[in-house]
Assembly symmetry: C2
Homo-oligomer: 150 residues x 2
Amino acid sequence: MMKIDQKDRQILRVLAREGRISNLALAERVALSPSATLRRVQALEAAGVIAGYRAMLDPAKMGQGFVAYLSVGLKTHTKSAQAAFEQAMAAASEVRECHNVTGNVEYLLRVEAADLPAYKRFHTDILGALPQVSTITTYVVIGSPKDERK
Amino acid sequence: MMKIDQKDRQILRVLAREGRISNLALAERVALSPSATLRRVQALEAAGVIAGYRAMLDPAKMGQGFVAYLSVGLKTHTKSAQAAFEQAMAAASEVRECHNVTGNVEYLLRVEAADLPAYKRFHTDILGALPQVSTITTYVVIGSPKDERK
DNA sequence: GGTGAAACGTAGGCCGT
DNA sequence: ACGGCCTACGTTTCACC
């Protein structure tokens, strides 16, 4: 674990929004020399504070028009049932996120599919085929007024 | 809207995982010359298929140890109530995502806070203070076995 | 789509504070 | 321990084929 000062936070704020900004431009933004900036960025990467960089793709523009969140409840709460479910989710390309949560369900999924039929195939053929699953509730995303992760 | 061929898809797949890969390395991966690769990337950016680049930060390593998803139901489904709620979400720094969904609730939020007390402040002082809100259910994230957005 | 070259950015050694 | 300067090296980018 490393200590993160105000300059680091400034750097992270910029990088979270503009992941591909050049080190030179970043240095100017945070009012530091390029070398000092680079050293800080490298330290943040090494410490895992920056876990990586991603291009945010627009699902709609790639023919992935269907986005939904699903809450999933399991029949049993054994370790093996969870492991089996998580493995299936890891293997399913439609599943972009799988969160283990507290509450009246065990999992929250984010699923992206080309269209409704494609989503239905996932819902019935993949999720429905898992013996561990007891309840599924689908929340279709109509819009995302805020999405700082993308 | 642009047409996306197989090479484009290859490029997107790499960039989605390694957003800061050099154009040279990317070109090698997709077996194209650097200039052809750059032209494709620039076209994908211009078309909005690539909406931007982000550093993925680890909330736990930044003292943001508390992550939860919240389902929120509104009292009324008028345009003005939705607009007021969305504006409040846009202003709340704890809210990383706000999705408008179908189902028995109107919104799904992703909230990140330093700890439980910080989360409680958000829950009661911000969400609880909004007159439009009728139901709130909190799903605390225990773990994320898959998170391809980060 | 590829080539080449100029412009630009990166990264690490070094020194000062 | 941390910031700034310098510079060799690598990368980006664009006009041209």
